[in-house]
Amino acid sequence: MLEIKNLHVEIGGKEILKGLTLSIKAGEVHAIMGPNGSGKSTLSYVLSGREGYEVTQGDVTYYGERLVDMLPEDRAAKGIFLAFQYPLEIPGVTTMNFLRTAYNAQAKARGDDELDAASFLRLVREKADLLKVSSDMLKRPLNVGFSGGEKKRNEILQMALFEPKLAILDETDSGLDIDALKLVADGVNALRAPDRSMLVITHYQRLLDYIVPDFVHVLAGGRIIKSGGKELALELERDGYESIVSSAA
């Protein structure tokens, strides 16, 4: 479903990704691990369509469609979802209003029926309970005054609502204590499905104890330098990035 071939990406003239190749099939969970500055977040942003990232070489196709020139809102409507490392605080827009606006915008783009306020509320309540997102949170302005855990739970709630085909989780474990991490991981695991792929980006192996990947890739210097099964994560945790980066070089 996702094919990344020899991807080179620049930000402000500086090359961050230098020939990244990765293939993800439907239903697979891939983890990308790597040291700081290796290009992990760049990959998540270039896949979701943030401006300022220039693809200078290579290509990304998603279900056979070229992704690079697609608007971020179109990618979302086609099922690409990025769980942000730092979800934005948006004063003046209530969480509920935001969720419904986004849900209906995606439905409209796909030609599906939009939901009225009452039907949408029922849908949200059902999903929110699992993630312990309170109705008070839904009434508050989007992410404003939310704790780190609340913000991440809100991200996963959106993933549950939008039911993406490709979910990119960017450092979803950052800023979470162990209880919050379990809650978020349970939410993610509940969404694993044969037609839903996931790209889990993380610095630490800890998250992968809870969200167990099918494949693990090590990203360093803008390229994938090693790939393997879930045991590769444990190897990294034990030996550190240094040994793998130097042995691959």
């Binding site: 979701s48 369509g49 943030r50 401006e51 690079v68 020139d69 697609m70 608007l71 971020p72 809102e73 990618r75 979302a76 409507a77 979802f81 990025l82 942000f84 979800p87 934005l88 948006i90 004063p91 003046g92 827009v93 935001f98 606006t101 986004a102 849900y103 915008a105 995606q106 783009a109 302005p141 959106q158 939008f162």
Partner: protein
């Protein structure tokens, strides 16, 4: 949302320059019109004729405002005055009544067409303690309180536009509410422009006696697409403990010129809350002077503006803290795109002896295009001790990170921008009015955003 802060230096002691007698070609047609109005001797008392004459003479001395006049520093009216606006003479009930944002709000409608009160389109409250007088109906024999209002307007709001209005006003609406009177609904004054390329000069005056509480809604709408010129003077007088909520919407055609001189006098513990929404007009300017004359008086002024093309909106405000323990708030926020321009000049003067003053002013503008411009000039002039005064001004653009977040959730660019703009503007509206009164304004903002989505999107199409 985070905005880039802009540092603004408060300036001390601004002196007002008056540009004397530059009676040029621009003023001449207006002065000729003044003389015609006077000579034709419409049914008016000698007192009113003499009052008009004083206006003419003072307008002659002023001439149209020049940008060298501090209060007009950012707004150049003179070129606009070169247009030949017809002084509408006859009175015809309009064929078409334009919708206003407050049509769903239960109210007493006071309809003014081309500057003239239309009783057939109005529903005047008929109850003891409420007096409503129009200049046209009572011009031969004005009640003493109306004369008092005209005189105090002339002395408190004096300036070229006010004086020109005194000379040329077609009609005026004077409202008096006696102590102990309770109005069951807001008053809604509707100013509709119907005649093409017209100029009209109006008066609106409201007096609330001790303890009276009232709501004044004001709508400005156009029934045609022609440029016209509305020169308005509003006089507000609040007795001890009186409360006035004043909510206005300027939604006239984008060719329109609308200049308002507003003066409000507040006695002890009186409260004046004013909220304006400006989306219409080519040039819309309100020059307000709020005089906190009694101890503990409070004023809360706020406004939102939404401007496209070359629209120009100017709020120039002076708040006079003349008595101790008064509170004033000014919050003006706007969104500008294409080549629009927004101006905020807010001045707070704290007199000697006005201890315990609490004054705050804030101006925030969102620029959606490189050519849009916002000017903010807050000023403080403090002659008392023990005061709390602050001001802030920010001029920035929509938060790109927030926009990306919304788009990454499937919300298209135009809708994402609208959502952020709406949040920015609604914040002001919610702070100024309860739900019943804020809802029509929020609807107005929301409709404006839908109608102008293409202009809001402008740039930023790249993924």
């Amino acid at each position: 949302m985070p905005l880039k802060p802009m540092s603004v230096q408060p300036t001390q002691k601004q002196t007002t320059l008056r540009v004397a007698a530059s009676q040029g070609d621009i003023e001449k047609p207006y002065l000729d019109a003044c003389e015609r109005v006077l000579a034709e001797g419409v049914r008016e008392s000698d007192w009113l004729k003499a009052h008009r004459r004083e206006g003419i003479e003072r307008f002659k001395a002023y001439g149209f405002p020049h940008r060298r006049v501090e209060a007009w520093k950012f707004t150049d009216l003179r070129p606009k005055m070169k247009e030949q606006f017809n002084l509408v003479r006859g009175q015809e009930t309009p064929q078409h009544v334009v919708v206003t944002p407050f049509d769903e709000t239960p109210s007493y409608r006071l309809f003014i067409n081309d500057g003239v009160f239309e009783s057939a389109l109005s529903s005047v409250p008929k109850q003891n303690g409420v007096e409503i007088v129009t200049l046209r109906q009572s011009g031969q024999d004005l009640p003493a309180w109306v004369k008092d209002q005209l005189v105090s307007t002339a002395s408190l709001s004096s300036g070229p536009m006010l004086e020109l209005g005194t000379a040329l006003m077609r009609d005026g609406l004077f409202i008096y509410i006696a102590e102990g009177t309770v109005l069951d609904r807001p008053l809604h004054v509707i100013f509709q422009t119907t005649s093409e390329t017209a100029q009209y000069h109006t008066r609106l005056s409201i007096v609330l006696e001790k303890g009276v509480e009232a709501t004044l809604l004001e709508s400005h709408v156009s029934a045609n697409g022609q440029a016209s010129f509305h020169n308005q003077a509003t006089q507000i007088q609040l007795g001890e403990g009186a409360i006035l909520r004043h909510i206005s919407v300027e939604a006239t055609h984008k060719e329109n010129l609308h200049v308002t001189s507003l003066n409000a006098r507040l006695a002890q513990s009186a409260s004046y809350t004013a909220m304006s929404a400006v989306s219409g007009g080519a040039l819309v300017r309100t020059e307000a002077k709020i005089m906190l004359e009694g101890a503990g008086a409070r004023t809360n002024l706020s406004g939102v503006y939404m401007l496209v093309e070359t629209q120009h909106c100017d709020h120039t405000i002076v708040i006079d803290h003349a008595a101790p323990n008064c509170t004033s708030r000014q919050v003006y926020q706007g969104v500008l795109t294409e080549s629009a321009r927004g101006v905020f000049q807010g001045k707070v003067v704290v007199a000697k002896g006005a201890g315990g003053t609490d004054a705050h002013q804030l101006s925030r503008a969102l620029l959606l295009s490189d050519k849009a411009e916002a000017d903010a000039k807050p000023e403080l002039e403090i002659y008392a001790d023990d005061v709390k005064c602050s001001h802030g001004a920010t001029i920035g653009e929509l938060d790109r990170e927030a926009l990306f977040y919304l788009r990454a959730r499937g919300i298209p660019l135009g809708q994402a921008k609208s959502l952020l703009i709406e949040a920015f503007l609604d914040d002001v509206v919610e702070g100024a009015a309860d739900e019943v009164l804020s809802a029509p304004i929020k609807n107005h903002i929301s409709n404006w955003l839908k109608e102008h989505e293409a202009q809001i999107i402008q740039e930023g199409h790249r993924p």
